[in-house]
Amino acid sequence: MGTGGAANLAVLEAALVASGTELTTVAMRRVDAAGGTGVLDLLRRLDIAVLPNTAGCRGADEAVLTARLAREALGTDWVKLEVVADERTLLPDAVELVRAAERLVDDGFVVLPYTTDDPILARRLEDVGCAAVMPLGSPIGTGLGIGNPHNIAMITEAAGVPVVLDAGIGTASDAALAMELGCDAVLLATAVTRARDPELMASAMADAVRAGRAARLAGRIPKRFWAQASSPDLP
């Protein structure tokens, strides 16, 4: 689960616990004397690992610096690499993303890039040494679900690294679908933190991820055009 959008730390805590997450992502921003390091204290208390992200970064240089600062501040070389093109879409800038990923891999980071649902871009990110790929279902915060399930399936079929569906999840069925399509995990924040009841939605997401994963492993039946009776023929 991500941490963005929660009304306060108490709401975030309840949602994180209900989701069962073991890893959560945090942004890097200027510290102020009043704000302190509250979210870090909370995550330490809950024993949830921290995955810093480069949210808000527009170019490779900015993202690389932010990742290095996060490594220094948090003592982890894992980074959720986010390089977005503009505020309106928050869509990844593919060219800058690959550039930043290459530099961070060379610098020893474990890079988890937020990317589009383009299977070829996912392959390029894997080729430069990313530890996972994190395609979007739809733009950040829209809750529009998985716009192109076939693209996500192509990514999961081809990938040699874990695939994490990141962004666009609106409700539990979207998370279940991501897992049915072969994703290894989902990363979501808004769908939970801005739900009417964040704690209940977090537990719904946990159930959905488990159900979707089980359905993937169980192997769904092929889709047929015509009906097929499930009862024996009448004598």
Binding site: G4, T25, A27, M28, A33, T37, V50, G56, A70, E82
Partner: protein, 68 residues
């Protein structure tokens, strides 16, 4: 003694010459764990926080916040 002008997180401050980065953080009430320091666009590792501030430095002090 000419005070040392530096910009920290967008605000102008003055310190006595010889002030270290670590002392500056304390003087501004900023935490020294869970934060990272950048000077003029490059990371200043913790191992160098006892270095003296340089005149005219642009310093950014970052921490983790909710987001993403």
């Amino acid at each position: 003694m000419i005070p040392l002008g530096v910009t920290v997180n967008g605000q102008d401050h003055e310190f006595a010459p010889g002030t270290s980065v670590r002392t500056m953080l304390g003087a501004l009430g900023l935490p020294d764990t869970g934060v990272a320091v950048a000077v003029d666009g490059a990371v200043l590792p913790k191992s160098r926080w006892d270095d003296e501030l340089g005149r005219g430095w642009t310093v950014e002090v970052l921490t983790a916040v909710q987001g993403g």
